[in-house]
């Protein structure tokens, strides 16, 4: 059964070799110029403003934390969707309950102002 994987192994080796060769070649052939533009932090082509290590608002963290929780809950939707047909009405009711409880949590953080970006102090 292992023979089927040989092309993949071959491709893997080829890809690795290509990367290594290109990196080494560019080191050997290219000229090194460290201009100030080149050493600038890359921010999608915009002129960077300020130091990259600056502190940024705590609200990012709060949004990220809320995101983790709600994101993971969505994980349960996939297996549910796969066997939805065989679960029939029971599956639907269970998922409505599940999403309903999540919805209450969502309303709660919304009303508490955790999603406000404005002046509200959290």
């Amino acid at each position: 059964m292992n023979e089927g994987y040989i092309p993949i192994l071959f491709m893997l080796a080829l890809a690795t070799a290509f990367c290594v060769v290109v990196v080494i070649l560019s080191r050997l052939v290219g000229k090194r110029q460290d201009s100030s533009e080149k050493l600038m932090a890359y921010e999608c082509g915009n002129i960077p403003t300020g130091n990259a290590r600056q502190r940024f608002p705590i609200k990012f963290y709060i949004i990220a934390m809320l995101f983790i929780v709600f994101d993971i809950e969505a994980m349960f939707l996939y297996p549910w969707a796969v066997i939805y047909k065989s679960l029939k009405l029971f599956g639907l009711i269970e998922m409505v309950l599940f999403v309903g409880i999540l919805l209450i949590g969502f309303i709660y953080i919304w009303k508490k102002g955790a999603l406000e970006w404005g002046s509200r102090n959290i």
Partner: protein, 488 residues
């Protein structure tokens, strides 16, 4: 395999459903009713929810074990006993909190919601017949308590306590999970009943994977019940957490972990009992000795009660080691007794505590007994009971546990335990002596007492049961014995 799995049967998790609905109700009320008078109202929603859950779980009592969710949860006498215990602990905690939360400026909505969620987790742990459910119940309980431990406003100590509890709780969860994984590898199932039947049939009892899994599982549970050498977190967390939550943790989490310990070890892993009984024997001796000796030199009342709670976990472990009808029954009886007397002791601490964690030092208790006679007498009752002095219930609890141990031939363990309880008398009585016989230091401001009707109610209930269960223990013991039939 084995049990009839059947259908979903939502009614089996009826107590949890009622508790969660009450918790969601508190959340929504907190959002949409914006007035200052709402606070006691929120507490009462939670309290009514607890009563409702109690009624549902009482309806399970005395019936055949009924399985729900395809055999993942069960409603039997054992779960009904523990659900009752958790709801008593939770209900009294809510009553204790109502004045405290306002006085300390804690966000009431979140506080009550999380208390109810923690109770839900405990009930789920007692009802689970599958390690997945057990893990979920434990996490619902733990995550709620991580937050609750840090809820005291403007207190860096509380936040620190929360972080420590979180770090060590998550760490111990890792051990518990790894133990479950290895057990699953050795037995091929996460169902407790299946694990039990596999172990009863096969000759795999010395398989390293199985033994390692058992050891890791024991480590995980050891953290939760603060068994030495995994007890180090308890004093710090108990000191920093809001006082009603400390009381709740010291009885509720402990009882929930013991419920799960009994279900897993006395139930499914009974075939391995020579191995785990040896470990628990050592754990029990270490736990009570370290708890009692460390409690001797504490000056903060919450820290002292924390070490005392570690010591009591040691006594309860003796009952688990002894096993059988007498030992396991004594464990359940002791947990019930301990819940009421310890919550009572914490209610007194809350009465004397002032905003900003003042008056937690033992010296603040000097002379309170002579100025507030009733309060001093209440504290004396709880301290005598915790020390195991007759006629209070703590004595009967110890008596049943020790006699079960003697009957099973654990004489050495019993002698160590009796010596330990003698040591413990010193620090329990010191509090009483402080309250009645010493005058506050001259110049020190007189400790004011914080009075709240709900708190007085908690004290009365706790005193009543501490005395009554000591004088008439037989019906409570019968209640405990009826709950453990399935282990025999």
């Amino acid at each position: 395999m084995g049990i009839e799995t059947g259908t979903v049967m939502l009614s089996i998790i009826g107590p949890e459903v009622v508790l969660v609905l009450a918790a969601l109700g508190i959340m929504m009320t907190d959002l949409f009713v914006k007035s200052d008078s709402e606070q006691p109202f929120l507490m009462w929603i939670g309290f009514v929810g607890m009563l409702g859950a109690l009624a549902v779980s009482a309806s399970f009592w005395g019936k055949e074990a009924a399985y729900g969710f395809y055999g993942m949860v069960v409603a039997d006498n054992f779960s009904a006993f523990f659900t009752t215990l958790f709801l008593i602990a939770g209900g009294l905690t809510l009553l204790m909190s109502s004045g405290y939360v306002r006085a300390q400026g804690i966000a009431a909505g979140e506080y009550y919601t999380l208390t109810l969620f923690a109770t839900t987790g405990m009930v789920l742990m007692a009802q689970s017949t599958d390690l997945i459910m057990l893990f979920l119940g434990l996490e619902v309980l733990s995550v709620s308590l991580y937050v609750l431990a840090g809820m005291a406003q403007d207190s860096t100590r509380s936040a620190e306590s929360s972080l420590k509890y979180f770090m060590l709780g998550a760490f111990s969860t890792g051990f518990l999970l790894y133990g479950i994984a290895l057990l699953y590898g050795a037995c091929g199932s996460t169902r407790l009943a299946d694990i039990g039947s596999v172990l009863a049939q096969k000759q795999i009892l010395r398989e390293p994977m199985l033994l390692a899994g058992m050891g890791l599982l024991l480590t995980g549970f050891g953290f939760k019940i603060a068994m030495a050498p995994f007890h180090r977190w308890a004093p710090d967390v108990y000191e920093g957490a809001p006082t009603p939550i400390t009381g709740f943790m010291s009885v509720g989490v402990k009882a929930a972990a013991f419920a799960a310990l009994l279900r897993v070890f006395a139930g499914s892993l009974a075939a391995l009992s020579p191995h785990w009984k040896e470990l628990l024997w050592i754990g029990s001796v270490l736990t009570m000795t370290i708890g009692n000796v460390a409690a001797l030199r504490q000056t903060n009342i919450k820290r002292m009660l924390a070490y005392s709670s570690i010591a009591h976990a040691g006594y309860i472990l003796i009952g688990v080691v002894a096993g059988g009808s007498a030992g396991t029954g004594a464990v359940l009886y002791y947990l019930l007794v301990y819940t009421l007397m310890n919550i009572g002791a914490f209610a007194v601490v809350i009465t004397i505590e002032q905003k900003g964690e003042k008056n937690l030092n033992l010296s603040a208790y000097a002379g309170i007994g002579s100025r507030h006679l009733a309060l001093g007498a209440a504290m004396a009752v709880f301290m005598f009971s915790l020390a195991g002095i007759p006629p209070f219930s703590g004595f009967m609890g110890k008596f049943y546990i020790f006699s079960a141990a003697v009957k099973e031939g654990y004489i050495g363990l019993t002698i160590i335990a009796v010596l330990n309880s003698l040591v413990s008398v010193y620090y329990y009585l010191r509090v009483t002596v402080m309250m009645f016989m010493q005058e506050p230091e001259s110049g020190a401001e007189e400790a004011a007492v914080f009075f709240h009707p709900a708190l007085a109610g908690v004290l009365l209930i706790a005193i009543f049961f501490t005395v009554q269960m000591g004088l008439f223990p037989s019906s409570y013991l019968q209640f405990a014995q009826d709950s453990i039939k399935m282990f025999l």
